[in-house]
């Protein structure tokens, strides 16, 4: 039983990271109907930028761990949001009127480009985050030993997701985003600048992805330039699991996938851990392509 709860908390923490990344996929898909393959590499970029800023500016030494990490997170999210906006401008905006599959190829190219940019700048070896930033405290809850970091990761992710959800549901700009997701043409007629909405989506999603990258760096302590590929595919699986285009769906899907994966690794086979997520993806697409919370009916063609 102890192992079960350990795996459950572990799965919840990893799952909340998947959920954060999945939000970026699902928002872009919601508005543009495009799988933004490069999103996973923006996540990697976030992890590396976090490392650079952390070591070059020694924020945590000057401001203490709490404020240091907070400021660091804000900076990383800002830079990755800029990168996201740039990505949209260069790789996707010229293709708005093209067939959708051209944009998919462009996304794939952008992903390869970004991944190799990171590799050429930082090198192909894995880099290590300083290990003295997050507390190593282990909490004793209900007779379990749970690292504090795990709970922090879960809480921070939940706060960010709730923030995004409220922003999308309650504000004027959020309403514009939802309108553009439902019908771009009608939204344009109602006076919404759809291109600006898309730009905003390409800043919001990647900033959350960048934050997730930073969290992975701090949580696991190491980053490498291909890390985005695995996380990205799993996050995308999470988005589909919850129903792509659906923001609460991405959150539920991410956390669910994290737990499924942790349980699978513990009780089925650790070596097949990575295959479990892909199996879930394939099964979901065959059995219920709209996902768990998907309300929209999949197009026939």
């Amino acid at each position: 039983m102890e192992q079960f709860f350990q795996q459950l908390t572990n799965g919840l923490a990893v799952g909340s990271i998947y959920a954060l990344i999945a939000l970026g996929y699902t928002m872009v898909y919601g508005v543009l109907k495009l799988i933004n393959f490069a999103h996973s590499d923006l996540f990697t970029l976030g992890a590396y930028l976090g490392l650079t800023l952390l070591t070059s500016m020694s924020l945590t030494d000057r401001l203490g761990p709490v404020w240091g990490v907070l400021i660091l997170a804000v900076m990383v999210m800002g830079f990755v949001a800029l990168a996201g906006a740039l990505l949209d401008r260069v790789a996707y905006r010229p293709l708005r009127e093209s067939p959708r599959l051209s944009a998919v190829v462009s996304a794939l190219g952008a992903s390869i480009f970004l991944q190799n940019t990171v590799m050429l700048i930082y090198g192909a070896r894995l880099l290590v985050y300083p290990s003295n930033i997050l507390p190593k405290t282990v909490l004793h809850l209900f007779g379990l030993d749970i690292p504090l970091v795990r709970i922090l990761v879960l809480c921070v992710s939940l706060i960010m997701m709730t923030g995004l959800y409220l922003f999308i549901q309650k504000t004027r700009i959020g309403t514009a985003i939802r309108a553009a997701a439902i019908d771009q043409g009608a939204a344009r007629l109602m006076g919404i600048d759809v291109n600006r909405v898309i730009l905003l989506v390409f800043m919001l999603g990647p900033s959350l992805g960048g934050a997730a990258g930073l969290m992975v760096g701090l949580y696991y302590g190491q980053v490498n330039f291909t890390m985005g590929w695995g996380y990205g595919l799993k996050a995308f699986t999470a988005a589909i699991l919850g129903g792509i285009g659906n923001i609460p769906g991405a959150m539920v899907g991410g956390i669910l996938l994290g737990v499924i994966e942790a349980m699978g690794a513990a009780y089925l086979s650790f070596a097949w851990k990575d295959a479990i997520a892909f199996l879930v993806l394939i099964l979901i697409l065959i059995v219920r392509p709209t996902g768990l919370l998907g309300e929209r009916v999949a197009e026939k063609v």
């Binding site: 495009l34 799988i35 260069v90 790789a91 010229p94 293709l95 093209s98 067939p99 959708r100 599959l101 051209s102 944009a103 998919v104 190829v105 462009s106 794939l108 190219g109 952008a110 992903s111 390869i112 480009f113 970004l114 991944q115 190799n116 940019t117 590799m119 050429l120 590929w229 595919l233 995308f236 699986t237 589909i240 086979s269 070596a271 097949w272 990575d274 295959a275 892909f278 199996l279 993806l281 394939i282 697409l285 065959i286 392509p289 999949a298 197009e299 063609v301």
Partner: protein, 320 residues
């Protein structure tokens, strides 16, 4: 250009290509071999991506199934590798049939993601030594050298002619396929699936057939690869391998045989010319994919639209 002149040019080009190994050292012959292998892989993927419009980003999985079929049967039962060619096609094709059947109806980008997932599952399965026959992360070594009519193929030059013959055969057969009823049906459903369905084309059936045929062909290339390397491991069948094949088709000109051949020559051959920049190769590659989609969606050498001599006859009559 008349058909006659085209044939002459083709024959001259082929003769030069056939004589090339006499003037090149074995390193460059090996580069040509790589180009040839990727050209055939590209052509097999072209059937799926180019002709049918099915985004398959897991083609390396079928290539791997073929290569492992050859390697396992050769090392365990000592069956000559090249004899296994049909069997490799069969296993890769059957594998494709089983996995593609439930997913073939998925829309473009979904299919793309699922095929990525399948490619990864196959790679993970190979690393985990599935059924205890794939040799895990080390792969399988000691595949015996193939021999044709008593001549054992050893040097890159030997393989050059084997691959050349196989490439020419592929081009010839795929050319016939392109102009067959089957090829036309595929193009129709790629352009407009609803209209194709309405005209009595069983779209699911045709898509599946194209997918299986392309996969089976990749399985045969896997066999040749295994024979050439004598050692195979999961590293040779990663996602990037699939991306490379995909890029060859998309950048070369999807749906066009010459486009794919050119794509293979450029994408596999060019980096060899600029070896100093080898690490930036993928970077350029990614940028090229984005730029290509923005400025020339159809690829470098897109297929020429189908033409029938109806028009010529009419003009001829007018002159007469």
């Amino acid at each position: 250009m008349s058909i006659h002149r085209k044939n002459v040019l083709g024959a001259v080009f082929l003769a030069i290509l056939g004589l090339l190994p006499l003037f090149l050292n074995s390193y460059w012959v090996d580069v040509l071999n790589s180009i040839g292998i990727y050209a055939i892989l590209g052509l097999s993927l072209n059937l799926i991506v180019g002709h049918s419009g099915l985004f398959n980003l897991g083609h390396a999985a079928f290539y791997a199934v073929g290569a492992y079929t050859a390697a396992i049967l050769n090392t365990h039962f000592h069956i000559p590798v090249l004899w296994l060619l049909p069997l490799c096609a069969l296993t890769a094709g059957l594998f494709a049939l089983v996995i593609a059947r439930p997913i073939i109806h998925l829309r473009g980008d979904y299919l793309c993601i699922v095929t990525i997932g399948i490619g990864e599952i196959v790679r993970i399965a190979l690393i985990n030594n599935i059924f205890g026959i794939t040799g895990g992360a080390n792969g399988i070594f000691g595949i015996s050298r193939p021999s044709i009519l008593g001549l054992t193929l050893r040097t890159p030059t030997h393989f050059f002619y084997l691959i050349l013959v196989f490439t020419l055969l592929t081009i010839f057969l795929f050319h016939l396929l392109e102009y067959s009823r089957f090829g036309r049906a595929l193009n129709f459903l790629r352009e407009d699936a609803v209209a194709a369905e309405g005209s009595g084309i069983n779209t699911a059936h045709y898509k599946l057939a194209a997918f299986v045929l392309g996969a089976a062909w990749a399985g045969m290339v896997g066999n040749i690869y295994a024979a050439k390397m004598t050692i195979i491991s999961p590293e040779s069948f990663t996602f990037w391998e699939s991306v490379l094949m995909f890029a060859i088709v998309i950048l070369g000109g999807s749906g066009s045989i010459f486009g794919v051949l050119l794509g293979a020559a450029l994408i596999v051959g060019l980096p060899e010319l600029f070896r100093e920049f080898a690490s930036a190769r993928m970077l350029v590659f990614g940028a090229a994919m984005v730029a290509m989609m923005i400025f020339r969606t159809q690829g470098i050498l897109p297929p020429r639209p189908r033409s029938y001599d109806l028009f010529e006859t009419v003009e001829g009559e007018r002159k007469a």
